[in-house]
Amino acid sequence: MTAHQTITAPEAADTEMMSGAEIVVRSLLDQGVEVLFGYPGGAVLPIYDALFAEPRLRHILVRHEQGATHAAEGYARSTGKPGVVLVTSGPGATNAVTGIVDALMDSIPLVVITGQVATHLIGTDAFQECDTIGITRSITKHNYLVKNVDDLPRIMHEAFHIATSGRPGPVVIDIPKDVQFGKAAYQGPQAVTHAHDYRPQVKGDAGRIAEAVTLIAQSRRPILYTGGGVINAGPRASALLREFAELTGAPVTSTLMGLGAFPAADPKWLGMLGMHGSFEANHAMHDCDVMVALGARFDDRVTGRLDAFAPTSRKIHVDIDASSIGKNVRCDVGIVGDAASVLEDMIAAWKAMRLSVDKTALAEWWKQIDVWRARDCFAYTPDSKLIKPQQAVERLYHHAKDKDVYITTEVGQHQMWAAQYFRFEDPNRWMTSGGLGTMGYGLPAAVGVQIAHPDSLVIDIAGDASVQMTMQEMATAIQYDLPIKIFILNNEWMGMVRQWQQLLHGERYSHSYSESLPDFVKMAEAFGAVGLRAEHPGELDDKIAEMISVRRPVLFDCRVTKEENCFPMIPSGKAHNEMILAQEARDLGSIIDDAGKRLV
């Protein structure tokens, strides 16, 4: 819900005349931007020219525009600030498309500036012309074609406002070359009059909040189910979540995107839920009587079979995006608002209403949860000769956990193992492509994270197939001296595809073998990075320690068992309590019915 009125701006103080290109640069500075990720070309040359003379803006030259968008996402997700991208028209813009969709799906604030051919050439199929705003209209939160340089200051500032407020997302600003050359009076963020009065609802409805906390107090088997929205609401939301969990004594689980909002070390943490989530999290979701969804959107990877999703529960759904409430799952109490603001009000209401939980019931609930926990769902059998992928992540975690560490991932089995075996205590430490599931996300995202946190340990937990999608960004890491660690769980397969083919397609491994893999160690060296390889469990610890200690980019080729599957798993079309553990996984093909096989 958005309240709209016309804003009247204060007296325009600043009326300096500038070129469009200068306006772009000045607006970025006034928005507090320090870094942008980009790639030049004919249609953005005036902006690049303006950047040339601007030492306060750091431009990171990527090797592919997709890399720029993912790097900006990594930067945004690890700092809470918007990521900024600058690319040229035509192929520059189309190459950026994947990252823009990725940011939309995972609610990452990006401002993407694209060059465009001169206004009089638009529509003539000019060289490197493409309909950028047409192409990006459905993949952005909002987009603009700037036809008049006078509108540029307003659009620049408005874009940042839209990208960062409400449910965050990408905004594209398409700027024709003549507009970059044109002159106009600059206006700062406070002076511009927004054309859109975009003011999303932040504060939740007090009546519903009271209703929600009453429900929670009456519950016998509560659960907090949190998502990326808690991370997006800032560190305060994570702190409030901890406080609320403490008050209610409720167990906490989260989506893939929400990892880190609640500390893994807390006894109330159940681990991630969903298709490859923990046994205890999924069973607790299934059996709960009151579910509090905070900044999570009941994605199909989370709910499993919908008609058996938490069948005995009353559902409270808190989300900044009204369209997420009741979209996939009907809820009893829907609260539109920012996770931090609503949590704060819930805590206040809980205290003001002097609510308390039924301690006996809660103790019973925890007893049941401990029974599920005792199943030890992430157990695996180590091998004396070969490295198990789970073991690799476990050892990596062991070496990294006391460091100031940030993790990114690619997409596949390694991503799930990273989510299962790496443990996060704080928000903004975990960067992964959840909604779109973009292979090739992790390496450039690591570049963006490392730019923001030059002295931290930044690791991309990668797959052998995914890493080849954006491998060229290693050169970016070298150029800017970014000591990112690319830790490849090399199983010589598109492992997640192979797993599905094994379980659902009669072991017909159609085109999923990673044929002709490059020698990653030599490849690292060719880039000027460090290449390391571990083949035996015995050398794993030393090699990981070496990787962490070198202050240079590292490509780590961790050879793992090739045919390992990712468990536990909720087979497609099944309910949370029909989760399958590794030990029971022999004949999964017969467990998933035909209807299940049709699902993604």
Binding site: S138, N143, D300, L306, G326, N328
Partner: protein, 182 residues
């Protein structure tokens, strides 16, 4: 009683539920691409558009009013409203159908070709519906009629056996009774 959840999100097509027509009045910022964005939203999410009208209504405020008639289950209509609200260019959304003060009107131009008794009857029916004759030849009339959409449906239905050869409709416009404005 709420409808049971289907087995999977992939089955969330709500086929079993009854579909209703709904008219939404949407006040949007009048800027290039806004209509594309709105129509694209319907196309991308598989919503129906039964009729669509749009025109600038306030030049100074740069706002256009879109009236969109769509069809869906209560759940889908709720989603449509939420998705319309979510567009950055949207200033206000009103579900005219569910508003007891909602008024809907449409204008139609109807060409009827007939002779003799049918021609006389067409004129008589037009008179009952308060349709105006805006063009005539010895063998045809063009009528202009305004009214609620179902009145126009009814008029067209009666004209069909009397020689209706062409029908042009504006699509639905809406406003609410009383002093309050959108």
């Amino acid at each position: 009683m709420p409808d049971p959840q289907p087995a999977s999100v992939y089955d969330l097509d709500h086929k079993a539920e009854v579909e209703n027509l709904a008219t939404f009045a949407v006040l949007v910022d009048n800027e290039p691409g806004v209509l594309h964005r709105l129509v694209g939203l319907f196309a991308a999410r598989g919503y129906n558009i039964e009729s669509l009208t749009v025109a600038e209504t306030d030049r100074n405020a740069h706002t256009s009013r879109v009236t969109i008639v769509t069809r869906g289950t209560p759940h889908v209509l709720g989603q449509i409203e939420a998705q319309l609200e979510k567009m950055v260019s949207t200033r206000h959304v009103q579900d005219v159908t569910r508003d007891p003060n909602g008024l809907e009107r449409e204008l139609a131009l109807v060409k009827v070709k007939s002779l003799g008794a049918e021609r006389v009857e067409a004129l008589r029916v037009a008179d009952i519906f308060r349709a105006r004759v805006i063009d005539t030849t010895h063998e045809s009339f063009v009528f202009e009629i305004t009214g609620a959409p179902n009145k126009i449906d009814k008029f067209a239905e009666l004209m069909r056996p009397l020689g209706l050869v062409e029908l042009s409709r504006t699509g639905v416009l809406s406003i609410t009774r009383g002093a309050d404005a959108l």
